[in-house]
């Protein structure tokens, strides 16, 4: 399969690979996917004053899955929690020029963002919305 230059770039030079401690103050963690399906994404955000100051990922999956999560961490940094929730899988598809067969990779990335945000909100206390 021919990849877009952007997918290749993210795959060869992934941004923000790594992990935060899950119990660290302001950290939200989302793990989505399943090994049987061939992709698992772990996406983490670090929030200060309602702004995402740092993001990290680790992904088991194909090149498009790795690129989608790498791009997601780039986009998350600097966004408010509210704006981060607005990132859509279709934005990722467009930016990376993903073919139809790889759209599920972008869906997984959106799910990972949502899961990380929910985890963060849950840790902030009961007044936050914990549902997706």
């Amino acid at each position: 399969m021919a990849y877009s230059d952007k997918v290749v770039d993210h795959f060869n030079n992934p941004r923000n690979v790594g992990s935060f401690k899950k119990d660290e103050e302001g950290v939200g963690t989302g793990i989505v996917g399943a090994p049987e399906c061939g992709d698992v994404m772990k996406l983490q955000i670090k929030v200060q004053n309602d702004t995402i100051v740092d993001a990290k990922f680790k992904t088991f999956g194909c090149g498009s899955a790795i690129a989608s999560s790498s791009l997601a961490t780039e986009w998350l940094k600097g966004k408010t929690v509210e704006d981060a929730a607005k990132i859509k899988n279709t934005d990722i598809v467009q930016e990376l020029n993903l073919p139809p067969v790889k759209i599920h990779c972008s869906v997984l990335a959106e799910d990972a963002i949502k899961a990380a945000l929910n985890d963060y909100k849950k840790k902030q206390g009961p007044q936050s919305d914990g549902q997706s």
């Binding site: 399969m1 990849y3 290749v8 795959f11 992934p14 690979v17 992990s19 793990i31 989505v32 996917g33 399943a34 090994p35 049987e36 399906c37 061939g38 992709d39 698992v40 994404m41 772990k42 680790k58 992904t59 088991f60 999956g61 194909c62 090149g63 899955a65 790795i66 067969v101 599920h104 869906v107 997984l108 799910d111």
Partner: protein
Amino acid sequence: MKFPIYLDYHSTTPVDPRVLETMLPYFTEKFGNAASRNHAFGWEAEEAVEHARQQIAHIINADSKEIVFTSGATESNNLALKGIVEMYREKGDHIIISSTEHRSVLDTAKALETKRGVKVTYLPVDKQGMVNPDDVRAALTDKTVLISIMLANNEIGTINPMADIGKIAKEKGVLLHCDATQGVGKIPVDVQKMGIDLLSCTAHKLYGPKGIGVLYVRKKAPRVRLAPLIDGGGHERGMRSGTLAVPLIVGFGKAVELCEQEMASESAKLSALRDRLHTSITGALEEVYLNGHPTQRLPHNLNLSFAFVEGESLLMGMKEIALSSGSACTSATLEPSYVLKALGVGADLAHSSIRFGLGRFTTEEEIDYTAKRMIETVTKLREMSPLYEMSKEGIDLKSVQWAAH
């Protein structure tokens, strides 16, 4: 070293220059139709075809009259299954195949099942990919008209005990077809000793041209008959009409002859290189699993699963090497390899599998480079893998409640 490195010889092989040289005159000055009985052009073509027939018959210990030319192994498999079912439909409506057959056998059997109401038994294989002859015996009924078992698997290289299966088929008087596409020219094949009645193979897997295959159809003890798929001028004893592709046939014959001459030295060289690749990789990386049989396997095949990394990303990380993966992401269906699944390999490890296919032009330098790049890429991707991280933290991945998607 020349890039990209080709390690996908199970998929196809380049035409050996000696084969090409033999073929060339048959495109131009020796262009006759082998069916033209009335002039020198035809005789010349016919003689060349008969010579190739003998070369091919020889390598499987058959008679040249038992060789039917087709367009390739897919057609041969179709012709064997459909042709036998059609011809022997009054005798019965049951066939037996293994669950790791090539798609051209599996899908043909499925088509016969749905369109013709044929009953198909899909035999399981053991953890190393081998068919148990006792399972073949147990599956036979008085309505069984054909057993079709592959000689060697195209993904994992496991070689089936054909002689044992052939003995059972003979005992019960049931025809045995063998898809020997991956085996002919690589390992000894003997249709007499193995009790094979029909055998498929193709030129492009053994350094011959694409577009030409063979179905061996036994003529004596028993005399096998088949209904043709293609009607026309009655070529190939009426089993496969159509003007013979003389240059391709000449190439097929030469390719087989070279394979036969060089089989012993070539398989020794390739299995040594294959083992070198295997030990270099497993010496440097943990959690690498061999798929297939440790000894009963094609000398040029290696199939490994690299836990915690996905196959397509591995291939993407080492683009300068042509390899193949059992990962879903490399297939159009988004399903991981059904062959590995049949072995009981978990879907997670099936997604992590890489097939190395070595061949005539593979060098030690290429193997050492591949091992080095494999180790680098797996290490890099494991650093990025949440599964590797969890496993290092002592989490049992099987105990995690994953959300399948």
